[in-house]
């Protein structure tokens, strides 16, 4: 009576991200070279904001000194509270809303932007305590925030962003440019 739907275990299957999420990228956010962000969009329209693997924070063995979700005197992303199924009360983020500022031990500071419109559901407080999470697992446990786009805009999230292929093209072009002008 058993239904034979055996899966192939010889090779690793698709990961959680590959199974459930679409990856969108924004390269050189706000004109800052290589400051690439990645948005993971779940099939249920929810989005997870992460750093792209190419982000300067993740390069050259940098370490993080401080992560700050307080983006101005009046506004801290840590104060974000959502209630109920409809997530009432979450801060609304526009495309270039700063979400947090990350200071590395070499005193370089980077601002992480939302890259999309939507309601902030939660920020990752774990990376405040364990900053190495962000460095070791930038696209999973080291995520920055969870953002819920408006229902009618959820299909358009990718329109202002790069697909994975386009982003890889950008990255390889960047690498080619660096090689072309060795300083």
């Amino acid at each position: 009576m058993d239904c034979k739907e055996e899966i192939d275990l010889s090779a690793p299957g698709p990961s959680v991200i590959e199974r459930y999420f679409t990856r969108w990228y924004k390269a050189d956010v706000k004109g800052q070279a290589c400051e690439d962000h990645c948005i993971l969009q779940h099939s249920n329209r929810l989005c997870v904001l992460t750093l792209a693997e190419t982000h300067p924070i993740l390069q050259d063995g940098r370490t993080i000194k401080n992560i700050n979700y307080k983006i101005s005197n009046g506004c801290s992303r840590l104060n974000n509270k959502v209630a109920g199924k409809s997530k009432r009360g979450g801060q609304f983020l526009t495309e270039f809303a700063p979400v947090c500022r990350i200071t590395c031990t070499d005193e370089t500071e980077y601002t992480i932007y939302s890259c999309m419109r939507g309601r902030l559901l939660e920020v990752n407080e774990d990376i405040l305590i364990n900053t190495s999470l962000l460095l070791k697992k930038p696209s999973t446990d080291g995520y920055i925030a969870v953002i819920l786009p408006k229902f009618e805009e959820s299909k358009l999230v990718g329109e202002n962003l790069l697909s994975r292929e386009d982003f890889e093209a950008v990255v390889s072009k960047r690498a080619a440019d660096v090689q072309a002008q060795p300083s």
């Binding site: 009576m1 058993d2 239904c3 739907e5 899966i7 275990l9 690793p12 299957g13 990961s15 959680v16 459930y20 779940h42 249920n44 329209r45 929810l46 997870v48 959502v82 209630a83 109920g84 199924k85 997530k87 559901l121 939660e122 990752n124 774990d126 999470l133 697992k137 999973t140 446990d141 995520y143 969870v146 819920l148």
Partner: protein, 557 residues
């Protein structure tokens, strides 16, 4: 003793001269003897009425009524076409517009019985219901006022509430006839026949009556017929005599009579329960439709319902179950309890063997699911089934992938973990439809069995409501602790099975398969519509209703 007495005589005369039919006369005289209504009508058999008359204690009066009736039958004899809507005739009652005449005839009873037979229902008991045009209550009131006025309230010591309701009179008149017509095939099986009738549409002149209120109370024309009906009854019952002066008393002669709009048959729902196993990882429990597009070819619900619907010859179904599982999760063990409400089944009685056969049909039709303990249950059992959802402990088996190679000894420590409390943030997977919260869930025990260096099976006993997939892959660290943390490496879940029912309730095991215990009631609905051009209420004549009814109407707006 015949209920009609000497003192009723003037009333009877009054009514007859106004154009009431014999049954309406009985109604207005508040006669509660059902057998009198069952006497064949004027246009039925002359013989029958004569017998009835001879039995009466007061022949002159009855004779008079009968004579009146006979005249009517002669008048309508020329247009005696049973199929076409009965032609208007002088004899048609001004109060019931033929409801207690044409529609109480053997011909009509035969028509109703035909409709029931055509549908080929199996049933034990029958209930007849009828909806009447709202216009009739206006006419009844008018006639009542007429009688009251003419008699100067001397004779009429009764109040209007004592008048036998038209629906009751209709039931008494026609139920026996329909039962007889159904007799050959159904009567022996029937325990009792109850009747009441519904005429779902309102007469056109009643609709005329209403628009003028709409302007005043601004409800808009979207009001349902039921609403209109309620209003007419309400307004008439609170209308003082002077308020009714614009409507003719007695009501005018109709130029046509009510027409039957529809005869509907309806069997009460039958509930079928059982347990199901799901062996497929690409089958949803219920049809999965996104933006009008089907995501999966079939569903558990449809696989079970189809053979059931064809056996019960039902007109639809409602599926419910004790919990549900993800599309890619198999349901093993004894199976998940479910119940299926079969709507308007034409057949409802199945023996134990027949139910077994249906079960086999379901099981052979697909290897994706299996059904057991299939049986007919009462409605109350549905409640017990839902209790199973609260079941404290759930058993799962997960196939886990590990990023790094493992050995048997690496996972043994999992077996020793007991009562592990998890803090689960609402998984991203369901966060779009569930509130964000951290929920504490307990894993009572785990049992790991090594498969190969990158895979092992993990059996879990957990508190209900634990998200297993998220426990295994960690959900971006949002479930803590998770299996990644316990094993200090990335882990992922490849397959999941849920075992249902091994420690569950046996809520309908003791049922009586094939025999339902609920009372099986069949309802025959008749629809009569009135669309004649007989005297109507003019719009302006009706405004008075509103002017003094303003306050009462407020409660509806």
């Amino acid at each position: 003793m015949l209920p009609l007495k000497e003192k009723d005589k003037p009333v009877v005369q009054k009514l007859l001269s106004s154009g009431c039919c014999a049954r309406c006369v009985l109604r207005f005289c508040c006669v509660l003897v059902q057998s009198l209504y069952r006497q064949p009508g004027e246009d039925e058999s002359e013989e029958g009425t004569r017998t009835a008359t001879e039995q009466s204690d007061d022949p002159p009066k009855k004779r008079m009524k009968l004579d009146d009736g006979l005249k009517g039958s002669e008048a309508s004899a020329g247009s005696g076409d049973a199929e076409a809507p009965p032609a208007p005739a002088l004899s048609h009652c001004v109060v019931c517009l033929g409801v207690l005449q044409e529609y109480c005839s053997r011909d009509h009873a035969r028509k109703v019985a035909e409709a029931v037979k055509t549908e080929d229902y199996h049933f034990e008991t029958i209930l007849l219901s009828v909806s009447l045009p709202a216009q009739l209550c206006v006419r009844e009131h008018s006639c009542w006022l007429h009688v009251k006025k003419e008699m100067r309230e001397k004779v009429m010591t009764r109040v209007k509430d004592d008048i036998v309701p038209l629906k009751e009179a209709f039931k008494w008149s026609v139920q026996g006839l329909i039962a007889t017509e159904l007799g050959e095939s159904f009567w022996r099986e029937s325990r009792c026949i109850e009747e009441s009738i519904i005429f779902p549409t309102l007469s056109s002149d009643c609709l005329l009556l209403v628009p003028s209120w709409f302007r005043c109370i601004s409800i808009g024309p979207q009001c349902s017929d039921v609403f209109l009906l309620v209003h007419n009854v309400e307004i008439v019952s609170y209308c003082p005599p002077h308020g009714f002066r614009h409507y003719p008393t007695p009501p005018g002669r109709p130029t046509s009579i009510c027409t039957s709009q529809a005869i509907q048959c309806l069997h009460t729902s039958i509930y079928v329960a059982g347990r199901y196993n799901k062996y497929s990882r690409s089958l949803s429990q219920t049809p999965w439709i996104i933006d009008g597009r089907r995501m999966m070819e079939s569903s558990v619900e449809e696989l079970i319902a189809e053979p059931l619907a064809s056996s019960f010859r039902s007109k639809g179904f409602n599926f419910s179950s004790s919990g549900r599982e993800d599309v890619d999760v198999r349901t093993l063990g004894k199976g998940r309890p479910f119940a299926m409400e079969m709507l308007n089944p034409h057949r409802y009685r199945f023996t134990k063997m027949e139910m077994k056969k249906i079960q086999e049909t379901i099981n052979t039709s697909s290897d994706k699911i299996a059904v057991r303990d299939l049986q007919i249950v009462t409605r109350e059992c549905m409640g017990h089934m839902k209790e199973g959802e609260e079941e404290k402990t759930k058993s799962y088996t997960a196939l886990v992938w590990t990023q790094k190679p493992i050995e048997k000894d690496d996972i043994i420590f999992l077996d020793d973990i007991k009562e592990l409390t998890l803090d689960q943030k609402t998984p991203l997977r369901v966060l779009h439809r569930r509130a964000l919260a951290v929920r504490q869930r307990v894993i009572h025990s785990m049992n790991a069995s090594f498969r190969d260096p990158h895979h092992f099976y993990l059996r879990l006993k957990t508190q209900a409501g634990t998200y297993i997939k998220e426990f295994v892959h960690g959900d971006f660290g949002r479930t803590k602790p998770n299996l990644c943390q316990l094993l200090k490496m990335d882990t992922d879940i490849l397959e999941l099975d849920v075992e249902v029912g091994n420690c569950g309730t046996s809520y309908f095991q003791k049922g009586n398969p094939g025999k339902s215990t609920g009372s099986m009631t069949r309802i025959v609905q008749l629809g009569l519509d009135f669309s004649g051009d007989f005297p109507r209420l003019d719009v302006e004549n009706v405004i008075f209703f509103f002017s003094f009814q303003k306050t009462r109407l407020k409660q509806y707006t």
